[in-house]
Symmetry: C2
Subunit: 294 residues, 2 copies
């Protein structure tokens, strides 16, 4: 398929590479244009603007940082929308606002361009290996047209409803992660303060109703107060901010998620935003008077 | 082994039955003495008091409701301590205060009686099948002496430290469960309010970093707003109260657990304490203006 790919960061670059390797005809664009070089070396064509990147493409994929970035690269002055033909499809795989997603989809619809929101989870490792989980909002027939392309990028592709629903699902994911980390941090800190055999306690509770991905995979790091990546705290706060905005618009009160957003804000302010998001345990530990390295 | 078993409730009765079936010589006592009948029918001897139940026993097991109950049946007027010989062992499998556990262990130690705290998780189903997870605090040599008996009751037996450490581990378990339920309830409520395909979204997020026992096993009940047992809210609040007391004594701040305790208090006050503890989703839903049956 003729694909334009916009946004070659930690996630976008390996995703674009997988599409090239799968035989697709790719144009690429990145704001910092030097990042296009590794992909043009593999056969992609670089484009000076999103508009140029989108010209004569059947599918345009955007994978950028935040809501304003998607607005700019799609609907901005030299945006992709200006280059796209009626009948083509835009798939936004960034994590952005569900409400803004619906506005962009409506604007594109007026040009005859269909849009899917398709945020992912699974991190840069998932992007490299093509094992992302992709949560899709939008028209099911449009999804079927681009599914073979998404299958190059992800091992699980789930349609979760109309335009914006993919972004809502990503928000659910980040809200649940936030609270689960807080729960694990509180429980383990209690054990650390009590001076019990915390590794044994961790093993004892991990297999039962207290069990979670966070407890199994990040609990050991919380115990030793060391937070290698993983997923950066500043990126999780960005996603959680989107989720809190969405919850506010819908009138949904999510006090645990809001509390965790505050912990993350403190960590970022202290220069710890590039650690793994499990570092919220730092604050829970500090508040208990346990020493922390931060 | 000659075993005295005190407390024949939902958990204790099937545990005592397993010990009988494994060939142990059992005396049993329950405050409401009629509950002894099913076990005496299987060959146990009923005893009028904890003291009488404990007489001439190598091991006494207590499985009662709360901290004051253990104090009463062990150290009370007709308590087990008065019947126990030096060199015998008391294993308390109730969920009670870690601090009081240490006091009881000290008091028994003065009579030459060793004590282990050995609270469990796994519910009545685990009690029936002998698949409980048993978290043990106390002397490792004492644990080795009674391990063959505990193996009749549980499939995982983990020593987590000295006296009280088993109870601390149970507190950790309940604190983590509390926060994880809150996280799952907030995330799913966001999706319900947004009107997306929530079953598909649940499936999409369950396999990744947001995954947990609570999300997989109780998320579907939260989605349909129906909370069959499971583990009763009023029992979880009792355990969480013990955990909050322990955290307070240790100077550990656990705001998420404290918030969930408040939700549970509201539910119990409204007559919903005998539903499954996942019913905290009721309140999160109600606060979002979604209808609830409660």
């Amino acid at each position: 398929m003729r694909i334009g790919f916009i946004g070659l960061g930690t996630m976008g670059a390996p995703m674009a590479r997988r599409l090239l390797e799968a035989g697709h005809d790719l144009t690429v664009h990145n704001r910092t244009r030097e990042r296009e070089a590794p992909l043009t070396a593999l056969g992609a064509r670089g484009a000076a603007t999103p508009r140029e990147c989108a010209r004569d493409r059947e599918l345009v994929i955007t994978m950028v940082s935040d809501t304003p970035d998607v607005q700019a690269v799609v609907l901005g002055e030299e945006g992709a929308a200006l280059g796209m033909d009626a009948g083509s499809v835009l798939v936004d795989m960034s994590t952005i606002s569900p409400a803004t997603t619906r506005l962009i989809a409506t604007a594109l619809g007026e040009h005859g361009v269909a849009m899917l929101d398709a945020p992912v989870s699974g991190g840069s490792e998932g992007a490299e290996r093509g094992t992302l989980s992709i949560m899709v909002g939008g028209d099911p027939e449009v999804l079927e047209r681009v599914r073979p392309v998404l299958e190059v990028l992800g091992s699980t592709i789930t349609r979760v409803g109309p335009s914006g629903a993919g972004q809502v699902t990503k928000a659910i994911n980040q809200v649940i992660i936030a609270g689960t980390y807080a729960a694990v941090a509180e429980g383990l800190t209690l054990g650390l303060a009590a001076g019990i055999d915390i590794e044994a306690a961790h093993a004892a509770v991990s297999g039962g109703a207290a069990g979670s991905w966070c407890l199994t995979h990040r609990g050991p790091n919380m115990i030793v107060d060391h937070y290698p990546l993983g997923f950066r705290t500043r990126l999780h706060r960005k996603d959680l901010g989107i989720a809190l905005d969405a919850a506010r618009e819908l009138g949904v009160s999510v006090p645990v998620a809001a509390y965790v957003e505050q912990l993350e804000t403190s960590l970022i302010g202290r220069g710890l935003g590039d650690e793994d998001v499990s570092n919220i345990a730092r604050i829970v530990r500090e508040q208990a008077g346990l020493e922390s390295e931060g």
